[in-house]
């Protein structure tokens, strides 16, 4: 190893229980070494079984020096697939079908810092960290690990790859091997290779990589939902940080940077995509550039259909939003003066909330005719005045709902959150009506929670869930439309996402933090319950003048670190029992993004 700049990169994704740790070792290699590696790799590709065997042999030599080990890893993951960088290189070499065979996400993988759509500051942070590490000596224990978090497709791996290649370091990534199949095992056993469990392989990898800077990538997801999915990743990151890791959080990419990348790809592919479609794809991706590129590839399948469509009206409402930042997506501005009445249902785009916002705009603004010409002869009897309404200036609510592919729950919640902004200030009676219908819808929906209990006999051949969804969405929407008989005068309104479940989330978060503290305060086997923590331990700490646990920790110094780790592991186990995740899955979820 000597004086070479070496960087350990390990990436961890976590999701349900598992954390996927992928570690890459960057070791600088000579060019000739690399090309040898590549040739080998091609040959190996032809017979993947053979290749695996080779890796195994590599691992067998326990006394192998680190370089050899790196090489093994290198081969190992090339055996399964080509490393991202490798793919890029192959393409440059001009492989004959590189063009038609590749996914655009692979083909247009960023190769320079400029091409990277990630925010400059974040790139800089990561780069600084790596450079710092290369500069200072390995003795420095802290700052050995960098954690990068962010949702799927925000360029976590890409950033590492690009920066590493800038630094002249090579990324050696831990990609969880798929498990050994029985036939494979037999084959290996016959040819004299010892079986090494995947877990062992990983442990060896981690052991060897302690000398090299390590980057752990954590993919966060499911934030929008109950918060259940995020608990593992949050815990993981938290414990890593407490153990001294640095952390960089990647945000969803901005609309502009996604747009720039998409335009570049369009230029290189020479497909002439109208700018408003690029805009739209960028917006619908929710800050996920991989999805944006994949959508673009799909979109470009049909260049003949690239008419402007009625997107013009769509882009009006959206570009009016002052903030270009996709983080602000949930606050999409809707202008009430704009005529929102256009048919539209996009065939693709990941973020379903976009279409949700359009439908919400219609429902909340509640545009109506000013004279009721049609209904005069229609009704069998006349209604009391307070039950009369002018006809709606839109399709029937059920049709709009159908077009937006939405579930009833988010619709009801969004309406509940926002409807008051759209009522005129004095119309307290309207608010009563709206609230009462929304609560009816809520009640109807709650039955679908215990939907599993429906016996097939009662349900017959109909799907009761389906009717429930439709009815409650109808009641919520129509309740808002009917109730809001004095819509507030046209003005700008931001649509907020529902706060309804935030208390739940917060509660969970606090509970989790307290669990951690509990483990630290007592030992793991303590039988003190949560209530003791909340009513005695924490207040006492407060009185003693500790502002937070952090203060306490400072006093405790390094020894605490190891203790805490034990606590966290235990915590994970504990959660596993609750969540019913199998041991197996935890092992398997170790992977890169």
């Amino acid at each position: 190893m000597g004086k070479r700049p070496v960087v350990v990169i390990s990436s961890s994704d976590d999701e349900d229980g598992g954390c996927s740790v992928s570690a890459g070792c960057n070791s600088s290699r000579t060019k000739s070494e690399r090309s040898v590696g590549r040739k080998k790799c091609r040959r190996l590709k032809k017979a993947s079984v053979l290749n695996r065997q080779l890796c195994k042999q590599g691992h067998k030599e326990e006394e192998a020096n680190f370089d050899a080990l790196l090489k093994d890893f290198y081969e190992d993951f090339h055996g399964h697939s080509m490393a991202p960088g490798e793919r890029g290189r192959r393409q440059k070499l001009g492989s004959p079908w590189a063009d038609s065979r590749e996914l655009w996400v692979d083909k247009y993988r960023p190769r320079s810092l400029e091409e990277l759509a990630v925010h400059k500051k974040k790139i800089e942070e990561v780069k600084m960290w790596l450079e710092e590490w290369v500069r200072t000596s390995k003795e420095q224990f802290c700052g050995h690990v960098l954690v990068i978090t962010g949702q799927a497709g925000v360029g976590k791996s890409a950033t590492i790859n690009v920066i590493a290649s800038q630094l002249g370091a090579e990324v050696c990534e831990w990609k969880t091997p798929t498990p050994t199949l029985w036939q494979e095992y037999i084959h290996n056993a016959n040819s004299g290779t010892h079986y090494i469990s995947k877990l062992e392989e990983f442990e060896t990898f981690v052991e060897r990589s302690t000398q090299i800077p390590t980057v752990i990538l954590v993919t966060e997801y499911g934030k929008a939902e109950s918060g259940d999915n995020t608990k593992y990743s949050e815990e993981l990151v938290l414990s890593l940080e407490r153990a001294g890791a640095s952390k960089v959080a990647f945000n969803p990419l901005t609309f502009n940077s996604i747009k720039k990348t998409l335009s570049r790809i369009c230029r290189e592919e020479q497909c002439n995509v109208p700018p408003e479609w690029i805009d739209h794809i960028a917006k619908a991706s929710g800050g996920d550039i991989r999805h944006a590129i994949t959508s673009l590839q799909y979109f470009c399948l049909r260049p003949d259909l690239m008419l402007p469509l009625n997107l013009s009206s769509l882009s009006i409402t959206q570009s009016r939003g002052k903030s270009e930042d996709l983080n602000e997506m949930s606050k999409l501005i809707i202008n009430s003066d704009e005529n929102l009445d256009y048919e539209f249902s996009l065939p693709f785009g990941r973020d379903e909330t976009l279409t949700l916002f359009h439908a919400l705009g219609k429902f909340l603004h509640n545009k109506r005719e000013t004279v009721d010409c049609s209904a005069l002869g229609r009704d069998l009897f006349t209604l009391k005045d307070r039950y009369k309404r002018f006809p709606l200036k839109m399709d029937s609510p059920e049709r709009v709902l159908l077009q937006m592919h939405g579930q009833a729950r988010p619709i009801a919640d969004f309406l509940h959150e926002n409807v008051l902004d759209f009522l005129s200030d004095e119309a307290i009676e309207d608010a009563w009506i709206v609230a009462s219908y929304l609560s009816d819808a809520d009640c109807l929906l709650s039955t679908s929670l215990h939907g599993q209990a429906w016996s097939p006999i009662v349900a017959g051949k109909h799907d009761p869930e389906n009717v429930t969804q439709l009815v409650s969405a109808s009641v919520a929407v129509r309740g808002v439309l009917f109730g809001n008989s004095h819509p507030s005068p046209s003005r700008w309104h931001a649509i907020r996402s529902p706060k309804l479940w935030q208390v739940e989330k917060l509660r969970w978060h606090n509970k989790k933090l307290m669990l951690l503290e509990k483990f630290e305060a007592y030992n793991i086997f303590s039988s003190y319950g949560m209530s003791v923590m909340a009513t005695e331990y924490k207040p006492t700490l407060k009185r003693l003048g500790f502002r937070s646990l952090e203060d306490l920790q400072v006093c405790r110094k390094m020894t605490e670190c190891s203790k805490m780790e034990v606590g966290v592991y235990d915590l994970l186990d504990h959660d596993e029992v609750e969540g019913g995740t199998s041991m197996e899955s935890e092992e398997d979820e170790i992977e890169d993004w």
Binding site: E15, D16, S48, V49, M82, S100, R101, L103, W104, V105, A152, K175, T178, P179, L181, D288, R290, T294, Q297, Y298, L301, R302, L305, S345, L346, P347, F348, G349, R350, R378, L380, F381, L383, K384, Y387, K388, R389, L402, H405, Q407, Y437, D440, L444, T447, W454, V458, G460, P464, V467, T468, L470, V471, S474, V475, R478, S582, S585, D588, E589, W593
Partner: protein, 334 residues
């Protein structure tokens, strides 16, 4: 593969389900969802399929499109180069790991631009653990293998997988689209029909082609003639016109007529769920004042809820009619 059961009607003895017999084998034959279908056709021609998620309600041609696409794309390699797993297969983590891995590693010689295809039907019923394992596989083998997932709601697919796929939305088929397909089948099978009969089929299909074809076949094999009467008998659905007249009676203040209509249906043996489901669909489309519709839907929703909770008595249904009448009384100007 579904393609095997082509439209040769030489099935003597037992009848092949028409949904299978008339399952389109070419992407171009899939009706509706024009945008999606035309793009899939381009893929069928040019290859290099991106990973796809097809999302939409049942019976709109998701599975059909994928199968047809795979078939057109891979031709005679289809058997070799396509792995199809649906909800009836066990798709736990182990299967994703082993079956899919084995398939992905398998060497199949394909022309340039083509990839092996793994089809995961009803992917939203996969556990999130299995989806986790899947997303790895997707990336590792992306140079040789592509994935097509079909599901009803894309939100049940974990984000990291959504991130790796283009989302193709399918929506309910229009009555016209269903009719066009029904006509093809009706002609091929020489089914005697009256137009109102097909209309009834379309009503019962409710945008679901599978339902439509099944009902057509059931009516045909039961009665050899497609008219309204037969269709609703076979489909075991209360006749929508009957229910509609119940609603009209309520609106006209003829409560007793409405009740006797209900009694008739109940005596015919329709289950409360059948009745309430049809009632909901009728009210949804009935032309009545906004307030009335809102209240009617609400009351129907609550009645449905109670019935689903097990209170499926005749009393509930009569109670519902009474409540609807009360709504009318409340709203009516004197």
């Amino acid at each position: 593969m579904a393609a095997a059961s082509s439209s040769s009607s030489s099935a003597n003895g037992y009848e092949i389900p028409w949904v299978e017999k008339y399952r389109p084998t070419k992407v171009a034959d899939v009706v509706g969802n024009a945008d999606a279908v035309s793009r899939l056709q381009v893929i069928a021609r040019d290859g290099n399929m991106p990973n796809l998620i097809l999302a939409g309600p049942p019976g709109t041609g998701k599975t059909t499109s994928i199968l047809a696409l795979a078939h057109e794309l891979l031709g005679e390699n289809c058997k070799e180069a396509v792995l199809e797993l649906n909800a009836s297969d066990d798709r736990g983590i182990d299967v994703v790991r082993n079956k899919i891995k084995m398939f992905a590693q398998k060497k199949v010689t394909l022309p340039p631009g083509q990839h092996k295809i793994i089809i995961l039907d009803e992917a939203d019923s996969m556990t999130s653990g299995a989806q986790q394992a899947l997303r790895r596989t997707m990336e590792i083998y992306s140079n040789s293998t592509r994935f097509a997932l079909a599901c009803n709601t894309s939100s049940k697919i974990i984000e990291p997988i959504q991130s790796r796929c283009a989302l193709v939305r399918f929506s309910r088929l229009s009555d016209q689209e269903i009719l066009s397909r029904l006509m093809i089948v009706v002609e091929a099978e020489k089914v005697p029909y009256v137009p109102e009969g097909l209309e009834a089929i379309i009503f019962t299909a409710d945008g679901d082609m599978r339902q439509g074809l099944n009902n057509l076949q059931a009516t045909h094999s039961g009665f050899r003639f497609i008219n309204q009467e037969n269709v609703f008998k076979v489909c075991d659905q209360p006749h929508p016109l009957h229910i509609k007249s119940m609603v009209r009676n309520v609106l006209e203040g003829k409560f007793e007529d409405a009740c006797s209509g209900l009694k008739q249906l109940y005596d015919l043996g329709y289950s409360p769920t059948d009745i309430i489901t049809t009632l909901f669909r009728i009210i949804k489309n009935y032309d009545m004042a906004e307030y009335l519709k809102l209240e009617f839907l609400k009351e129907t929703g609550f009645a449905h809820m109670r019935i689903c909770d097990g209170v499926g008595s005749f009393l509930q249904l009569s109670g519902l009619l009474a409540k609807l009448s009360l709504v009318r009384e409340t709203a009516k100007a004197f």
